[in-house]
C-alpha cells in the first residue's frame, strides 16, 4: 500500500514518562526513513564565558558512547550509507539522518545512544576543537559570514544569545575541557528536552514503539529554559564595516530585531517580509537591485522566526563600488513599504503563494520531520499544516501595514558591510 500525504499530515504523538516527545508520520514515498532528534540545547543554554560550547558538544557527541566506540559508530553508519548530522542553532541541538527503511531499528538505536551516552574523550575533543578553530578561521575570510555576524552583534549586543557566534570564539574554545562538555550534555541533552520526529516508510505505531524502547529508561530532571530578553530599542541607525582585502565583492547585511515567532502578529510579519524580499526572485528588493538596476546576483530579506525577538535581515552581494547605491536602493524599498504598506495585489499574490506552498514544505521525509519539529517546539499543534491556510487567510491589510510600519524604518536600521575597502571617490 502506498501511504500518501495528499490530505495533509496525520502524525502520531506520544509523550513518555521522562518527558520525551515522540512524533511519527508514515509516508511510503521512498523506502527510507528520516530521523530528527531535537533537544532544547542550543547556544542559548551555554554559559557566557564558554560561547561555542553547544556547538563543540555537537561536534564531539557522536564520537564514542558508553556502548560504542567512535570507530564502531562510524562503521555502523557508513555501512548503511547514513550520514549523521549534528546541527546547533541558538535554541536547539539536532541529530538527524536518513536511512533505508530496513535499517531503521539499528540506526535509531545508534542515534539515541549517541545522544544519550556520549563519553567525550580528550582525544576526540582535541581533534574536533581543531576543526572548529579552522572553521572559525574560514568564517573570518568569508564576507557573507562577517557581515551577518557583525549585524547580529549590532542588533542584539555581543553578549546576547542572538548576538554572539554559535561557533563561539577561539579563546572560549580553548577553555573547554571534557568536563565542560559532559556537564552541558548532562544538563541540557536529556529526554525532557527532546522531541523525536520519525518520518518515512515505517508504520507510525512501530516507530513510536521502537523509540520508546530506546528512550524510556533514560531519566533526568526538567531543564530550565533561559529567557531571551529583547534588545534595547535602537535610537539611531548604526553602521559597521569589515575591511577585507583581496575580495571581489562586498556583502551587505541590513536588519532589524523584531517580534517573537509566538507573537500573534507573526503571520502579518511573514507576509510583509515575503513582499519585501522573498516573492519571486526576492520581492521588491530583487526587483529594484537585481532586475531594474542589475547590481547584484542576490538581494533578498529573511525573517528568521525564533521564540525570542527575531531578526529580519536584508542581504545583498554587490560590486564594492556599488555599495552606496545598493544601500540607497534598500533604504528606498524599506522606507516605501514601511510608509505605504504593500499593494492589495502584492498581498493577495503573497497569500496565494504561501498557502499554495504548504505541500511543497512537505515534499520530503526530511522536510516533514523538520516541519513537525517546528510545530512541536512552538506548540503549533499536529494539525498545523491544515490550519495554516486559514491563519494566512485571516491576516488583514491593516495588520500587514502595521507590521511594515513597526519594523521597516531605515533611520533605526543596523547595517554591516564586509568587503574590500575603497576610497569614497571610487563609489559609482
Amino acid at each position: 500500500m502506498t501511504v500518501g500525504l495528499a490530505r495533509g499530515l496525520r502524525p502520531v504523538r506520544e509523550t513518555l514518562d521522562n518527558g520525551a516527545v515522540l512524533i511519527a508520520q508514515e509516508s511510503s514515498a521512498t523506502p527510507a526513513v528520516a530521523v530528527n532528534a531535537t533537544f532544547l540545547a542550543g547556544s542559548l543554554y551555554e554559559p557566557d564565558h564558554l560561547t561555542g560550547l553547544a556547538y563543540l558538544t555537537g561536534r564531539v557527541i557522536d564520537r564514542g558512547t558508553e556502548r560504542r566506540s567512535a570507530e564502531a559508530i562510524a562503521e555502523e553508519l557508513d555501512e548503511r550509507g547514513v550520514s549523521l548530522r549534528v546541527g546547533c542553532t541558538r535554541h536547539t541541538m539536532t541529530l538527524s539522518c536518513t536511512c533505508l527503511a530496513e535499517d531503521f531499528d539499528e540506526v535509531l538505536a545508534i542515534v539515541i545512544d549517541v545522544a544519550r551516552r556520549p563519553i567525550f574523550t580528550d582525544d576526540e575533543l582535541t581533534k574536533r576543537r581543531a576543526e572548529v578553530m579552522t572553521a572559525l578561521r574560514q568564517d573570518e575570510d568569508n564576507p557573507a559570514v562577517q557581515a551577518v555576524e557583525v549585524l547580529a552583534e549590532m542588533l542584539y549586543g555581543a553578549t546576547h544569545p542572538y548576538g554572539r557566534r554559535t561557533k563561539g570564539t577561539g579563546a572560549a574554545l580553548q577553555r573547554m575541557d571534557r568536563d565542560a562538555l559532559s556537564a552541558f550534555h548532562r544538563r541540557h541533552v536529556r529526554p525532557s528536552a527532546l522531541s523525536l520526529a520519525i518520518v518515512g516508510d515505517i508504520e507510525a505505531g512501530r516507530a513510536i514503539e521502537r523509540a520508546a524502547a530506546e528512550l524510556e529508561s533514560w531519566r533526568s530532571a526538567d531543564p530550565v529554559a533561559p529567557a531571551v530578553l529583547p534588545p534595547a530599542l535602537p535610537a539611531a541607525r548604526r553602521c559597521s564595516t569589515v575591511p577585507m582585502t583581496g575580495k571581489a565583492q562586498s556583502d551587505i547585511a541590513y536588519g532589524f530585531a523584531t517580534i517573537s515567532r509566538l507573537d500573534p502578529r507573526y503571520y502579518a510579519y511573514w507576509m510583509m517580509n515575503n513582499v519585501l524580499g522573498q516573492f519571486g526572485l526576492g520581492g521588491r528588493l530583487a526587483d529594484n537591485i537585481r532586475e531594474r538596476q542589475g547590481m547584484a546576483y542576490y538581494a533578498y530579506s529573511a525573517f528568521d522566526a525564533l521564540p525570542g525577538p527575531s531578526p529580519l535581515v536584508i542581504r545583498a552581494g554587490v560590486d564594492p563600488r556599488q555599495v552606496e547605491r545598493a544601500l540607497a536602493a534598500i533604504d528606498t524599498e524599506v522606507r516605501q513599504l514601511g510608509a505605504e504598506g504593500p499593494t492589495e495585489k502584492e498581498v493577495e499574490e503573497t497569500r496565494q503563494y504561501l498557502v499554495g506552498s504548504i505541500p511543497r514544505l512537505l515534499e520530503t521525509n526530511y522536510s516533514i520531520a523538520s516541519f513537525l519539529q517546528t510545530c512541536e517546539q512552538l506548540g503549533l499543534g499536529l494539525d498545523y499544516d491544515r490550519r495554516l491556510p486559514a491563519l494566512l487567510q485571516r491576516v488583514t491589510m491593516d495588520e500587514i501595514n502595521a507590521a511594515a510600519a513597526d519594523v521597516l524604518r531605515p533611520e533605526v536600521a543596523a547595517v554591516a558591510i564586509a568587503g574590500p575597502e575603497l576610497p569614497a571617490e571610487a563609489q559609482l
Binding site: T2, A6, S28, A29, T30, P31, A32, A74, E75, D78, E79, R80, G81, V82, S83, R85, L100, A101, E102, D103, A130, E131, M133, T134, A135, R137, Q138, E140, D141, P143, G170, A171, P243, M244, G246, K247, A248, Q249, F279, L281, E291, R292, M295, A296, Y297, G317, V318, D319, E349, Q352, Y353, L354, G356, S357, P359, R360, L362, E363, T364, N365
Partner: protein
Amino acid sequence: MTLSLVPAVRPSVRRATLDNGLKVIVQEVHTAPLVSVWSWYGVGSGDERPGLTGVSHWVEHMNFKGTTNIPREQMKGIVERFGGMWNGYTWIDQTTYLETAGSAALEQMLFIEAERMANGLYELAECESERTVIISELQGGENDPDQLLDTEVTASALRAHPYGHPTIGWLDDLTSMTRDDLYEHYRRFYIPNNATLVVAGDVDADEVFRCAAKHFGRIPPGPSPSRPRVTEPAQMGERRVTIEREGTTAYLKMVFVAPAATHPDFVPMLVLDSVLTGAKGVNLWSSFRGAPPQRKARLYTELVEGGVASMVSGALLPTREPFLYTLSFTALDGVELGTLEAAALGAVERLRDTGIDPAELTRARRQLRARLVFENDSVTNIAHQLGYFETVAGPEFLASVQDRIDAVSPEQVWDVARRRLGATTRTVGWFKPLSGSRRKSDPAMPAVPA
C-alpha cells in the same frame, strides 16, 4: 544486515517523442499533490568556443526575462500563484529549468516552458542589465578561495577541452559579449529536437502527453546543433597551480582525468570514490549538499582523523565526455600545504599499490545503494534524475547503474586506480593564504602558517 533489494529507480516511467523531436518523459507519483516540470536542453559550457565563454549560462538568465506572450514582470507570479518554486541551472553538458508546484499548475508550467523554448525576447536593455548581474555572480564566487582554486585547477587540467573554462565564463568574455551573441546561441540550441521535457508528480501521464503536444507541438524543429568536440590531448606529466592571496585558510585540490558517464570505467570509479571519500550518489541537484557517509573512508580516516585536514571531499560527476575527478581538502589550521599534500598522495598511492579490500567494496556498494534511494526522495529529485541522465548519458544509465555497481569487482577498482590516479593524469592546486587585513582575529587564534 543483508543487502537491500530496494529498487533505486522507480518503475513505470513513460516516454513519448513529439513530431518535432521533443522527448517527453513522465513519472506518475501520487504521494503528494505536487508536480515537478523540468525542461532540459542539450547545451552547456562544453558547447562554447573561446570568446563566448559563459554564453549558455547568460542565455539561461535571459530566459527568465520575458517572452512574446509573458511580459517580464509576469514571469514572476504565474507559478507562485500555485505555491510553486522555480529555478534553473547551467553546467558543462546541459541547461535546465524547473518548476515544482501544486499539481493544478501543470498547464501553466508547460505554457511557461514552451514560451521559454520558442519566444524569448532578449531585449537589449535586459541583456545589459543581466550582464552586471552575472558579473556580480562571478565576483561572489571569487570571494570563496575554494571556488577560486577550483576554477584555476580545472583550467590547468583541461587545456584544450571546453570543459576547462568555468560555466559562468571568463570576465573578459562577459564584458564583451553582445546581445546578438546571446540570441544566436539561444536560437541554435533551444529547439525541440535538442530538448527533453520531464514531468513527475501527481499527474495523469496521458494528460501530460496531451498538454505537451498542445503547448510544444507547433514549435518547429531546427537543424541539429553541431558540436565540434575537442579531444583533450594526453597529459604528459603532473601539473601544478598555486594561488597566493589574502586569506586565512589553506586549501588543496588534486584532480584526475575522469571517464565519461558511459565509459566502462565510470562505475568502478564511483566505487573508488566511495572508498576514498564516501558515497555521494549521482544527483547533481541534491546529493552534494551535505557531508556523505565518510568516517570510514580512506582519505577521511588518514587526513581528518590523522590531524592534517578539517575536511575532505571527492566529486565524480556523470558527464557526456571525460571531465575530472576532484579531491578537495581544507588544511587544518596551522598545517602546511606540503604536509597535507604528502598525506593525501600517500593515501592515494597506497590504494594504487594494493587496491581495496572486500569489506571496502561491500561498504561502497551498500552506501551507493542507499544514496541512490535517498536522492530520489521527491518529485523534484525524481524529475531531475530522469532529465539529467537522458541529456548526458542516455536513459540506460539510471536503469542499469545499480546492477553495474553490484557487479564491480575489487580488481576493477584497483585497475582504474592504477590507470587513472597516477602522476601523469594529475593536477595539483594550492591556495596559500597571505595574511591580509581581515577582521581582527581572536587573540587565541594561532597564526596562519606562512
